[in-house]
């Protein structure tokens, strides 16, 4: 069994109004050092597969077809083997 953590984030070049709102909230709470906040998504996937290479191949395809939109988003992932 494999466990994939997929991170989907807005491309650096794209303004993130949600991140800005969170930054505003943190500053108003007194966290003076906050310079920038970007918000993204974490998608956790558990999958059965024969080997880590196949699992990686699958997750890559999931990201490029559905999980992220390449026009506005970047993605990365970590895959670990776990006990079922």
């Amino acid at each position: 069994m494999y466990y994939a953590k997929v991170f989907v984030t807005l491309k650096k070049s794209i303004a993130d109004p949600q991140g800005n709102a969170i930054k505003g909230a943190l500053l108003s709470m007194g966290y003076d050092g906050v310079k920038d906040v970007r918000m993204g998504k974490l998608i956790e996937i558990k999958l059965e597969d024969c080997c880590s290479e196949k699992a990686r191949e699958k997750v890559e395809k999931m990201c490029s077809t559905l999980l992220a939109n390449a026009v506005i988003e970047d993605y990365s992932y970590e895959i670990t083997e776990v006990q079922p």
């Binding site: 807005l10 794209i14 303004a15 109004p17 949600q18 559905l66 939109n69 026009v71 506005i72």
Partner: protein
Amino acid sequence: MRFGVVVFPGSNCDVDCYHALRDVMGQDAEYIWHKADSLDSFDCIVLPGGFSYGDYLRSGAIARFSPVMERVVEFAQSGKPVIGICNGFHVLTEAGLLPGAMLRNRNMKFICDNVYIKVENSGTPFTSLCRDGQVLKVPIAHWDGNYYVDSDTLREMEENNQVVFRYCSPEGHITDESNPNGSLQNIAGVCNREGNVLGMMPHPERCVEEILGGRDGIVIFQSIINYLKGGKAGGKETL
């Protein structure tokens, strides 16, 4: 003419589109469940607004993989007209039938309001009865309407005249104040390179009768009907 209105789980403007086409425009219209596997009997496909699949993941991202979308892609590739309104526009960008993507509105608010849009290309099947520069008052109702596309693609789109509508002032000036959601260059609607697929965030089906507050949406549907009946669109040979 026979219009097909696709119904995804979560579509909520399907009935409005059906009413506009059937009761107001007097056309033949049918609902198409998102699992349908044939669009053979239709002349035009409408992807209506709403919240397909609850807007989970991204607006339109999951609907794009509904079985009917393979048929919609084939339908579009055969040159027949496809119009996506609001969430239907999202689905078309997610499916790769239209360039760009939609971001959250710049003010982070759901906006439900009448806006003005300027017809930038009257050579499409959807605008053939409009004048270039004509201003239409059409309502919007969305959270993710902030159109984005990279600069290289935008340049190509401008060269191919693919920007069909821009948000404008009532007098037709393209200003930042008249841009409700932060869309790049005030873009409110775009078509594909061939011109037979249109996506627009404003809802023409919500302004086809005086009781709804205006009738400016009628010209969009009338243009499609005119085009399907053999009227010219942008000097191109029609279907």
